[in-house]
């Protein structure tokens, strides 16, 4: 049982890492750009991913 659990958790861990890299490779997401949220954080700065654009897309 412990062996099965270890295999399962290892699978989940590597699966998540694989998911992160695959999403970037496919161009679905660029995770590293989110690092800029902390640097460019003035109230007047343009959001990295504005919430309005997303709402507009959904309503189309």
């Amino acid at each position: 049982m412990y062996f099965g659990l270890i295999v399962f958790l290892t699978f989940v861990l590597y699966g998540y890492i694989f998911h992160l890299y695959r999403s970037e490779k496919r161009g679905e997401r660029d995770y590293e750009k989110y690092g800029k949220i902390a640097l460019d954080d003035e109230l007047t700065s343009k959001p990295i991913e504005p919430i309005e654009e997303e709402t507009k897309k959904e309503s189309k």
Partner: protein, 489 residues
């Protein structure tokens, strides 16, 4: 149509209030800590304020004031600052959230003062780090609900769609503590059941070993969700911002986050090794503690790598010094903790001074340094003035670092000596030493620990003075600094 009104600015009112409180509770909590450290070396100090200065009464005052006074104030101060900035929304844009924030502060301030006073007059559940009696637990729940409204309310009106990694950690702090606090403080107020006795008194709903298990599930995860998770939230914002370098790997920050969340909750059993809890649970506590090194070092290395190519800043900027050393101390204590939780090491280390040694390289080095750096980073933004004195900040850094080194090295030596003496036997299997033999041997190390604590405590006054002068007398800035905090020599 982002930012419709350019006149609106971030509102730091609540962040400022919590910063003042962090400084106040830091001085009070660690002042008591220094006193009780010296009491262990010089027992006559127990009686300087009569019954109110006995070690047994002041120890919970120390732990609760630093954990739930100093640290929580620091967490709230940084939340009310970082939250607005990474969500790109000002509290001034919502009267409701502003009111909630202020209410949160005042309820916390008054509630925490009363709670500390209640410990001084001996109202206690006697559960470590969960000593507050049931009426205060209710106040804590209200404070926490207000914080939750503030977090999710601000998220609700944000402009930045993606929640920055610090936000994840603040949310985890909120959810984690809510769950832990509620379950560990399930208690029966005896007055209402028996119709007699003290109004404040209660008994735990759990009994025996179950009580111990829930207590240490709570106790260890209080370390997780008060001393680790929100402090990571801070460093993920303040180190990149102060250095002008984006976090080294955002993907690693996500992986470490989920790793930490999954692993931490199972590690509490290591507090109960060689006790009456089932053996498999003790083993599980040990194993998960060792695995915990991975996500902890994931975050810490991510922070150190953020400084890649920019190590010159470590020399120039004392705030970078504080933060880099904070993440180094985080690495040290997250390696030391798992080592202590290995069963054979625990047999030697448990109940010795090595344990408070471990706790303090984490709290003084990691938690304390990070909160100090965060508040000093915010000060020039709060008051549009440069930091009053770089020199003083540098002196504070070195004095406090020396203090921490004195603290943990003396406790390592004391703890291991103590453990070895307790288990030493002669050729016939008789104990080689009596308890008083260990006390005599440990005396110099206890004194050294007190001196180390005193150094750190003096550093707090330097911090408070520097903050106060920054607020009142420092050179005014034309605009808010972008990255490195400006400071006068």
């Amino acid at each position: 149509m982002h930012n419709p009104n350019h006149a609106i600015e971030y509102d730091y009112t609540v962040a400022k209030w919590f910063s003042y409180l962090a400084i106040l509770y830091g001085i009070v909590g660690m002042g008591v800590g220094v006193l009780i450290a010296f009491q262990l070396a010089f027992p006559e100090l127990n009686y300087i304020f009569g019954e109110y200065s006995l070690f047994s009464r002041l120890r919970p005052v120390h732990t609760n004031t630093v954990a739930f006074g100093f640290t929580l104030s620091g967490i709230f101060a940084t939340w009310y600052y970082v939250g607005q900035r990474v969500l790109k929304v000002s509290m001034a844009e919502s009267k409701f959230l502003m009111t909630v924030g202020k209410l949160h502060f005042w309820l916390y301030f008054i509630g925490s003062l009363l709670a500390v006073a209640s410990l001084l007059v001996r109202y206690t559940t006697s559960k470590e780090y969960a000593q507050f009696e049931w009426p205060f637990d209710i106040v804590v729940v209200l404070i926490w609900v207000l914080w939750g409204i503030s977090i999710f309310g601000l998220i609700g009106i944000r402009r930045e769609k993606t929640l920055y990694i610090s936000m994840w950690y603040y949310i985890a702090t909120f959810l984690g503590v809510a769950m832990l606090y509620l379950f560990n403080n399930m208690e029966v107020p005896t007055y209402f059941v028996a119709g007699m006795g003290d109004f404040f008194h209660s008994v735990s709903m759990y009994a025996g070993t179950n009580d111990a298990l829930v207590q240490w599930w709570y106790g260890h995860n209080a370390v997780a969700f008060v001393f680790t998770v929100p402090i990571i939230a801070m460093i993920y914002y303040y180190l990149p911002k102060e250095s002008g370098q984006p976090v080294y790997s955002y993907k690693l920050s996500l992986l470490s986050f989920w790793g930490l969340m999954f692993v931490y909750l199972w590690a509490g059993g290591h507090h109960l090794i060689y006790s009456t809890v089932p053996d498999w649970m003790q083993t599980m506590g040990s194993v998960f503690s060792v695995i915990l090194i991975l996500p902890s070092w994931g975050s810490a290395l991510n922070m150190l790598l953020t400084m890649k190519g920019e190590w010159g800043q470590l020399k120039e900027n004392p705030l970078i010094k504080f933060m880099v050393l904070a993440s180094t101390f985080y690495m040290l204590s997250t390696l030391e903790g798992p080592i202590q939780s290995i069963k054979s090491v625990n047999a030697l280390a448990h109940f010795t001074d090595w344990i408070p040694g471990h706790v303090h390289d984490g709290t003084l080095g990691w938690v304390g340094f990070m909160i100090i750096a965060a508040i000093m980073h915010m000060a020039p933004r709060f008051y549009k003035r440069e930091i009053y004195s770089k020199k003083l900040l540098e002196m504070q850094f070195w004095l406090q670092t020396t203090g921490i080194v004195l603290y943990f090295s003396s406790m390592w030596i004391a703890g291991i000596t103590q453990g070895m003496m307790w288990r030493a036997v002669d050729q016939y299997g008789n104990l080689a030493y009596s308890f008083i033999d260990t006390v005599t041997v440990l005396h110099p190390y206890y004194t050294l620990r007190g001196i180390g604590g005193l150094f750190y405590f003096i550093g707090l006054f330097m911090w408070a003075y520097n903050f106060y002068k920054t607020m009142t007398a420092s050179k005014e800035l034309k605009e808010e600094p972008t990255f490195a905090s400006p400071m006068a020599a």
